[in-house]
């Protein structure tokens, strides 16, 4: 168990800034996701926490102890990589025992700890097998067992499921989360897959271009994206974004997009200039009368729901609806948006404008 505090962490490789002035806290026992596209700095951040990379500036503390310049071996952290590197000449038992043997843990204790962890991961039947004959899932479980058996203060995982196929990945994601719920070890997990992050994380740091764009629970990040990048990166398909030019005044609950007026969460600041209105596909509704005129371009059946692609004066929009709503290509419905879910963004800074949606605590003073 350990809290990890990252303060003003900065890493440059020559002229290239990989991580810019990042600060966040991973609470003890938290499953913390570093999410972002390739090259955003998430793996570099993880490697600095683990001690595999030294920061250019900034500070890292683990469990109250400053570790910024300590080597990896002195940090008491366990690492799980995408390509689960197992020792091919050792059997499963020896692979899992290895970190303990090298720490000089007594034999009897090793045996007991391995029994515990292999039961938890349900790999007891393969303990005496050679690792080369294992299935992908069992290899992954052995790699996890080897990390867990050390009882490290924290786990660092770099896309550990990246190499698996979709179905198996979903299965392992659930297994991993269940395991976390049992052992409650602080975990920092790097992924580029937003669904994986949403599914497993207690908290997500969304990174882009070397900075943390937003930090929050999966629900908050989805409902209250702090920037256009987050709005587009989280959610599949992404949030609908409608650019417009105009002005909002503090207290406003409506905005005008050309000739159409939308009700929005009460705004907390004045703003004038190019803006973007964001609405999630499941918050686009067919309205009985009026509404934003649109034409159905595509209907995609998804089983429980369906995805509708619509052309409007504001570009292509996507709407998610129950599969039984009758709608077909060529229909011309009017569209309405669920008012309290709408985000407005400053098109220049790309940041969300403050409103009742993303500043609830300010409005109600409940912190």
């Amino acid at each position: 168990m350990a809290e990890i505090v990252v303060e003003n962490l900065h890493k440059a490789f020559g002229d290239f800034v990989a991580v810019r002035d990042s600060s966040f806290t991973v609470r003890s026992g938290e499953f913390f996701m570093l999410l972002g596209p390739s090259g955003c700095g998430k793996t570099t951040t993880l490697r600095m926490i683990a001690g595999l990379e030294l920061p250019t500036s900034g500070r890292i503390t683990i469990d109250g102890q400053e570790v910024t310049d300590k080597p990896a071996a002195k940090r008491d952290i366990a690492f799980v990589f995408q390509m689960f590197a197992l020792y091919p000449h050792m059997n499963v038992y020896q692979n899992i025992a290895y970190p303990l043997v090298s720490q000089g843990v007594p034999k009897a204790q090793i045996k007991q700890r391995i029994e515990e962890v292999t039961q938890m991961l349900e790999i007891t039947p393969v303990l005496r097998k050679s690792v080369s004959g294992l299935s992908a899932g069992d290899r992954q479980r052995v790699a996890l067992a080897r990390a867990i058996v050390r009882r490290a203060k924290a786990f660092m995982m770099d896309e550990p499921l990246g190499a698996l196929d979709a179905e198996f990945r979903e299965h392992m994601a659930q297994e991993l989360r269940r395991l976390h719920d049992r052992i409650k070890a602080t975990t920092v997990y790097v992924t580029h897959d937003q669904l994986e992050a949403m599914q497993m994380g207690d908290k997500i740091a969304v990174m882009n271009n070397a900075v943390v764009e937003q930090l929050g629970t999966p629900g908050d990040i989805y409902r209250k994206p702090a920037s256009l990048f987050v709005a587009q990166f989280i959610g599949s398909p992404a949030m609908n974004l409608l650019p417009f030019e105009g002005a909002v005044v503090r207290g406003d609950t409506q905005v005008n997009l050309v000739d159409h007026c939308f009700t929005v969460p009460r705004q907390h600041a004045n703003h004038r200039g190019p803006m973007v209105l964001g609405v999630r596909p499941e918050h686009v509704r067919l309205s009985a009368e009026g509404g934003l005129p649109a034409e159905v371009r595509a209907v995609e059946y998804l089983g429980t729901s369906q995805m509708i692609t619509l052309a409007s004066d504001h570009g292509l929009l996507r709407a998610r609806m129950d599969a039984h709503v009758p709608i077909k290509v060529g229909d011309r419905p009017g569209l309405a948006f669920v008012a309290e879910t709408i985000s407005l963004f400053d098109a220049h800074t790309t940041r969300a404008l403050p409103s009742d949606l993303n500043r609830e605590s300010e409005t109600y003073g409940t912190g």
Binding site: P37, D165, A166, E167, F168, E170, R177, D181, Q194, L195, M198, Q199, T217, P218, G219, Y222, R223, Q232, F233, I234, G235, S236, P237, A238, R280, P281, E282, R297, A298, E300, Y301, L302, G303, T304, M307, T309, R318, R320
Partner: protein
């Protein structure tokens, strides 16, 4: 564009039977998606049609013509792979034009220009036409390789996970584009994927493969709504279908060993008479759907939160089944008389 018929195709590699006695018709203009886990035989089937593999037994007919013995070049098929293969010394425009420059086709320059411009627009790479392909991102390179197939007019397009390396937004855009290409041009497409969303949204037909055998073939809706086995039922649906013994919800019927429950088969309430208590273990907020992980007397059950309702971990919901899918001990579907 044309129909492709596979009859009794078998293909083994050493001791592994990759495709087993496969008979399947890809109708003219159809968008057929092959679905199945790694090793089910999807890619091998595609390569057999392409002519990159020779079957041990069986025949491949393309547009009514026996193609089993033909080379890939003689078959007039266009392929897109997961790994893009482009000419690195050429620009995007040259790469896209290349298939049309074959001396056999003798395509006029004006036609080439028009086709290239059109395909580039569809794939949102018009502004990159004069860039070298080595200067492109991975996603852009993949679009160029899709584009290189689209400029042609083959009997069938064969696509092996062409979107899997792209980001979510682009994948969603290209799904719609590919579907429109197939419906507007009447193109015949065979498409291999792991991604069930791609299968559901683009396919006119889904073929489900299991250990080299075709176990069900039909429109996405019928594969989703009336799967013939637990295996097929587990291929589609997010969250995945729950498989429980029927007794878990007080059902019992001769010959039924398992019950399959999708979220739409689960009725939940807080004060339902005759319902079964299920404790809420974990709430998973995926944004567009909120999944509830329930413990139903020792069985794990995943369903969706209802719109506008709030839930608390630890609370007990009352659960009943509505028209669940029933299966026998082998996992084969048991059909209900009233269905």
């Amino acid at each position: 564009m044309g129909q492709v018929d596979l009859t009794g195709i078998t293909k083994s590699f050493a001791k592994t039977v990759a495709v087993k006695d496969l008979t399947m018709t890809i109708p003219d203009g159809a968008f057929v998606v092959l679905l199945g886990p790694t090793g089910a035989g999807k890619t091998t089937t595609l390569r057999l049609i392409a002519g990159l593999e020779k079957p041990d037994a069986g025949t491949v007919m393309i547009e009514g013509r026996e193609a089993t013995g033909l080379t890939p070049a003689q078959r007039n098929v266009a392929m897109v792979f997961q790994q893009y293969s482009l000419y690195p010394h050429m620009t995007v425009r040259e790469n896209l034009s290349f298939p049309l420059r074959s001396p056999l086709l003798n395509t006029p320059q004006a036609v080439i220009d028009e086709k290239v411009a059109h395909v580039a627009q569809t794939l949102q790479i018009s502004d990159k036409l004069d860039n070298r392909v080595t200067a492109l991102s991975g996603g852009e390179m993949q679009r160029v390789s899709i584009g290189r197939a689209l400029v042609r007019n083959p009997s069938i397009f064969l696509m092996d996970e062409p979107l899997s390396s792209l980001d979510a937004k682009l994948r969603a855009d290209l799904r719609v584009e590919l579907k429109q290409i197939s419906s507007k041009r009447g193109a015949t497409i065979l498409y291999v994927t792991h991604d069930q969303i791609e299968a559901m949204t683009m396919a006119t037909h889904i073929g489900v493969l299991r250990e080299g055998e075709l176990v069900q073939f039909g429109p996405p809706r019928s594969i989703y709504e009336s799967p013939n086995s637990i295996y097929v039922a587990s291929r589609l649906g997010l969250p995945r279908i729950n498989i429980l013994p029927p007794q878990a919800l007080g059902l019992s019927q001769a010959g039924v060993a398992y019950m399959g429950l999708r979220p739409e088969h689960i009725v939940q309430s807080r004060d339902q008479a005759g319902g079964h208590p299920a404790r809420l273990q974990r709430i998973e907020n995926l944004g567009d759907q909120i999944r509830l992980h329930l413990d139903l007397e020792g069985h794990e059950l995943v369903t969706l939160a209802q719109m506008g309702k709030t839930y608390k971990v630890g609370e007990v919901l009352s659960i009943t089944a509505r028209h669940p899918l029933l299966f026998d001990v082998q996992g084969a579907r048991v059909y209900q008389s009233e269905e």
